[in-house]
């Protein structure tokens, strides 16, 4: 065992994986191998559990047996306490993977006379280590020695020797320590452990507790410096850090349908981009959950997985309600493509919510995540904190290429589009659901406020919840403004009626025109008839005149005959005129 230290190359620090989710990430690979790490914190923040899990994971996952030396709890107590976390210490002990040693120190049972040292402890620990070839050791809480032994000077000297000795043994050690007033540990253990110090914290803010972990120092390596919330759940401790949030995600060109055909067409005909974030904002009852559920249903139908995080409704309530508009979520729940995670927002602190979401996302690995609504988190922190947290979440989702739909409940009266400056710049597509109130009724409208990277419709659509899901219809836009609902229906009817009467009018006018034409033509015919009559009259007059002239001439001849005048060859007036003319000339 001593060789491990010698084998370790000098330039890079060897690390010992803890197997605790997230801890290896923030420590850059684990605790310093072959060295002691101090885990400090107040009572009840999970020090013992963290240390124990380090041993259990070491024994079960990394083939490194461990020794747990407890100064506070007996072996039986420990076994009972962690059984609920699924750690079977008894089996590990039986399999020689773990030694539990309870060190009982009670000052009242000691009398001190003269010099002594803690060689007994060394022998005890050494024996335990050697008996199972342990690579990991936990001393929980070694401060018990200070309380148990009267001579502090000896304890301090011996502790220094103990840590040196443990380093020589090459075992990776966790020493736990109770937080002191203004110091990391009550007895100043940090002065003995200089390699790695981890602080656990258990804070209550607004009656909500959040456990947090922070790597205070880690000599010779980089590490996450933030405080990260951690969970203690049925499978032990887990930390869900968002360690690297950079704008480096690759943008997908793939599109995912929204589940509402008409909405797809509004979004350039194809729906959202995969991996984009969609904000769905609206006041109460505008259909946010319905749109989200439709999207969830469409996701599952494609064979993908959808995680639905609800802060308002229970899974059964959502599935029941959605069934009434023809969205069957139950089938996808059964097939395991849909997962609900529902929790009241005030149940956890903001960071805890975030950590839990990331845990769910990591475990379920969905293609689509729906958070309904993000405004549920408003109660969990100041608006600044909430925004920062959401920003981290959205960035995280983008990095993972997960399409995220976030609904946002707006208070009535609040400006719909003013919301969440931080969020709006984060999201790629922003759908606004709104109330359109007129003529004594409310109707739902939907429009695309923005959608990055695609030509999208700028029109408001009326959004109708029917038995077969969501329908989007055109709203009526006319001289009397935008009409929806029954007003739209009425307007359409009116328009139809108007249309009909217009047709009739045109027909009537056409008829009138025909009449007019007929009248005109009649008139023309009459005129023509009159004209021909006149023409005939004139012709008749003309011929009568001729006749009269002829008869006059014949009368003259007759008269001359009767008067027996000389016969003039030429006849008629002309002859006479000529004679007259001839006379004149």
């Amino acid at each position: 065992m001593k060789t491990t230290k010698e084998l370790a190359p000098a330039k890079t620090l060897r690390k010992s994986s803890t197997g605790i989710h997230g801890l290896d990430e923030i420590t850059g690979g684990g605790l310093p191998a072959g060295r002691p790490t101090l885990v400090c914190g107040a009572a009840g923040c999970g020090k013992t559990l963290l240390a124990l899990e380090f041993l259990v994971r070491g024994a079960t996952e990394y083939g490194e047996p461990g020794v747990f030396m407890a100064f506070e709890e007996t072996g039986e107590e420990l076994i009972d306490n962690v059984a609920s976390l699924g750690f079977d210490l008894k089996a590990l002990v039986a399999g020689k993977k773990l030694v539990l040693d309870y060190v009982y120190v009670d000052r009242s049972e000691f009398e001190e006379t003269g010099e002594y040292d803690l060689e007994g402890l060394f022998i005890r620990l050494g024996y335990a280590i050697d008996s199972i070839k342990a690579k990991r050791v936990v001393l929980d809480t070694i401060e018990g020695l200070f309380a148990g032994l009267p001579n502090q000077a000896i304890v301090r000297a011996e502790l220094r020797r103990l840590f040196r000795w443990l380093k020589e043994k090459g075992v990776t050690v966790i020493i736990t320590g109770e937080r002191g007033e203004g110091t990391l540990t009550r007895y100043g253990l940090e002065e003995y452990v200089s390699d790695c110090v981890i602080s656990l914290d258990h804070r209550v803010v607004d009656q909500v507790t959040t456990r947090r972990i922070r790597v205070v120092k880690y000599r010779g390596t980089t590490h996450g410096t933030n405080e990260y919330p951690f969970l203690i759940e049925k499978d032990g401790i887990s930390i869900w850090p968002i360690t690297s949030v950079q704008l480096e995600h690759t943008a997908s060109h793939e599109r995912v349908p929204t589940g509402i055909e008409r909405l797809d067409t509004m979004l350039g005909g194809k729906g959202f981009y995969r991996g984009s974030s969609i904000l769905l904002s609206g006041t109460a009852g505008t259909g946010k959950t319905s749109v989200a559920s439709t999207f969830a249903e469409a996701t599952c139908r494609r064979g993908e997985r959808c995680l639905y995080i609800s802060f308002e409704e229970s899974p059964s309530q959502i599935t029941r309600n959605m069934a009434t508009i023809g969205i069957d979520l139950q089938q996808w729940l059964k097939k395991g493509r849909l997962q609900f995670q529902t929790v009241r927002p005030f149940h956890f602190g903001l960071e805890m919510h975030l950590a839990r979401m990331i845990k769910f996302i990591t475990e379920f690995a969905p293609e689509v995540v729906i958070i309904d609504p993000i405004s549920g988190l408003d109660t969990s922190g100041t608006s600044l904190e909430v925004k920062a947290a959401l920003m981290r979440l959205v960035d995280y989702l983008k990095q993972k290429g997960i399409t995220a739909m976030l609904t946002d409940l707006k208070m009535g009266g609040a400006a719909l589009e003013r919301t969440d400056a931080a969020i709006s710049s984060l999201v790629d597509t922003w759908l606004v659901l709104r109330d359109l109130e007129s003529n004594g009724e409310r109707n739902r409208g939907l429009h695309v406020l923005k959608s990055r990277g695609m030509g999208h419709s700028n029109q408001v659509r009326e959004f109708v919840l029917s038995d077969d899901g969501i329908q989007l219809t055109d709203v009526y836009v006319g001289p009397s403004g935008m009409l929806t609902g029954s007003a739209r229906v009425a307007q359409e009817a009116r328009e139809r009626a108007e249309h009909v009467s217009l047709d009739e009018e045109a027909e009537r006018q056409q008829l009138a025109l025909e009449c007019k034409r007929a009248a005109l033509e009649g008139q023309i015919a009459a005129l023509r008839a009159e004209f021909s009559a006149e023409e005939a009259t004139i012709a008749r007059i003309f011929s009568q005149d001729k006749q009269r002239e002829a008869s006059l001439a014949s009368d003259k001849v007759e008269m001359g005959r009767s008067r027996q005048h000389d016969v003039v060859k030429s006849s008629g007036i002309r002859v006479r005129r000529t004679a007259t003319g001839a006379k004149r000339s």
Binding site: E109, E111, T113, D117, L121, D130
Partner: protein
Amino acid sequence: MRTPTASPKAKVVTVSPVEWDLRLYVAGPTPKSIAAFRNLEQLCEEYLAGRYRIEVIDLMKNPQLARGDQILAVPTLVRKLPAPIRKIIGNLSDTERLLVGLDLRAREANPFAPGKGKKHAR
């Protein structure tokens, strides 16, 4: 390192009517161990002659016993008999305190001292 010996009893000094059964835990023959044993033997001869038995247990040889008997410090003297069990740590150089620790002498301290006065009948 483990030496599974049949009997942990390393050294039996006196075997007679055992009224006083004492165990001295040491870690090898260090000056402290030797001093402790010498001091103990001296005191026993003076106060408990013929009524005691001292068992010296070398934890170097029987490391497993450290756990079983809850030994941390060495040397540790454990009074197994008479009951109750008493533990005295150190090289036993302070005879007065040793006597008090073995309940061979009444405590001079305030009998109302918290937590302690009750246990000591003498």
